[in-house]
Amino acid sequence: MNKTVQELAIKENVQLNEDTNLLIFEAPDLKEDLLPGQFANVLVKDSTTTFLRRPFSIYDFDKKTGSFSLIIKKVGDGTRKLCQFNAGEKLSVIYPLGKSFSLPNRDEKVLLIGGGSGIAPMMIMAKAIAHLTSEIHILLGARAAKDHIELEKFEKVGKLHLTTEDGSLGEKGFVIHHSLFNDIKSFDRIYTCGPNPMMKAIGDIAIENDVPCEVSLENMMGCGFGVCLCCVTDTHDKGHQCVCTDGPVFNAKEVKW
């Protein structure tokens, strides 16, 4: 699908918890699939502090109703402002941007790991591979029970596993402490998105255990479509690669953390 810049109306803005909202956009032109890992770059209207756009992974989309959604965690001025817009207001959105996760082979056992706002691409990914395999395990990590969001929806698209740092829900600890990692070799593929230290740790374990692993990076972006060269990650074979166009999805083996 070609990328476009469009003024899209907010269909719904749902507060999921204290610091996270779900923003559903009306996208009447949406005729093709959005791919898991792709993102949208949103202009923060009326912000006196946020000059550049802000990138967010596609969480879900629906070609029938012509809509897609983002999960936005309030971490600074831009995200706080975005979560304040009401249904009906229009925002300028560039999408779809970036490359997709590669898809698993038929019937492979797959592990999707999301941490923090990195859970977003795991929903679209789980749905995208549902026709390929039924062995979809989704491991989500958060600080505490109240930080876990959209669990009912995730439960519908895979076998859900949870961790919390304080042990208030699921297993206690970080995602890599989860008991799934005791038998990590049983998985054919791992896909992950979240804070860099988490993805690095998962990538290291995957490499050690010879499990193919893809990570979706969240580097700061100037443009989102490959022209400013600000978002680079260093890689082993290809030097600096643009997270926005060469990624955001990379093979864990490639990334020099």
Binding site: L43, F51, L52, G222, G226, V227, C228, D234
Partner: protein, 303 residues
């Protein structure tokens, strides 16, 4: 119909709207968004003789009405450009300029010699003002002898249009402009980025891996306008103005101050369709003000 055509040396642009180096990739990245044929021209990413990896991440910081970048001229080198990239854009009905950078005068010369062989290229924009590389770059652009030396050397080997891009990080930009004109520049473009810095107070660290970087965007517009005005009063060659242009009104301000054409940089990140909107906005302004020729705006500031 209004006339939007302007000339830079003997290169005719269909309108005065170009894109700024490092903000427009090689043009084709924008083909989903706009019709590249609508542009007066575009200046491709800063190119050096040898490939460069650029600086480490983070290379960007947001600032009030602007941004800092410390990309550091990441590019695949002039040979790669000529062989693999230029063929993809040479047929666009617009003018292509290559932004050429170097660490030594020798680098600039060899790069220019290679580009001199490229048919259909409108010209070189000689970048003697990049604040984001340790050696060379801005160093040439902040003294008259430095600027003169590199422009003279390139002029000797380069036959097409030689546009020289000035640094704003100087005490007297008019003096540098005169030196550059004297050394044979066909045109002067300005401004490159202002050297700036951003700090993360919570982490107590610089935000950029390089500590300092180049400031661009609306924040720099007043400085850019002033420098265009000063240079326009100092030299005779056509001036290409840039720095914080976000819309047609901004562009017209630069034209009034004396620029023959403008470049749009950071604005492309915020609205990838901005260039075409600016072309249309200039037309609309001319119609509204009953101006039939863009030359009646250029340098038309009434004191």
């Amino acid at each position: 119909m209004v006339n939007l055509k302007v000339k830079i040396n003997d290169i005719e642009l269909k309108n005065p709207v170009l894109t700024a180096s490092g903000t427009f990739g090689y043009g084709y990245e924008f083909s989903d968004f706009i019709d590249l044929n609508r542009l007066g021209g575009f200046v491709v990413k800063g190119t050096t003789l040898h490939p460069r990896q650029g600086n480490a991440y983070p290379r960007m910081a947001e600032t009030p009405s602007g941004m800092l970048n410390a990309v550091g001229l990441q590019n695949k080198g002039v040979d790669y450009f000529i062989e693999h990239i230029y063929p993809k854009i040479k047929d666009v009905d617009s003018k292509v300029f290559v932004n050429l950078s170097g660490s030594t005068v020798e680098d600039y010369i060899i790069g220019a010699e290679k580009l001199n062989e490229v048919k259909g290229l409108a010209g070189i924009e000689l970048n003697i003002s990049c604040p984001n590389v340790k050696e060379g770059g801005m160093a040439f652009g902040v003294t008259c002898p430095g600027a003169e030396a590199v422009v003279k050397a390139v002029r000797e080997v380069y036959d097409s249009t030689l546009m020289v891009k000035l640094s704003p990080n100087v005490t007297d930009v008019a003096e540098i402009a005169r030196a550059v004109e004297g050394a044979g520049a066909d045109s002067i473009s300005l401004i490159n980025t202002l050297l700036g810095m951003a700090v993360d107070a919570e982490k107590r660290k610089p935000i950029l891996s390089t500590v300092t970087g180049g400031l661009s965007g609306p924040a720099v517009k007043p400085v850019a306008l002033r420098m265009v005005w000063q240079v326009a009063n100092a030299v005779k060659v056509p001036i290409v103005g840039m720095g914080g242009i976000m819309n047609a009104t901004d562009a017209i301000e630069f034209l009034l101050a004396g620029a023959t054409a403008v470049q749009l940089g950071t604005a492309n990140f915020i609205d990838p369709e901005v260039t075409v909107k600016v072309v249309e906005g200039i037309e609309e302004y001319m119609n509204r003000h009953n101006i039939s020729d863009i030359h009646d705006i250029i340098g038309g500031l009434q004191l």
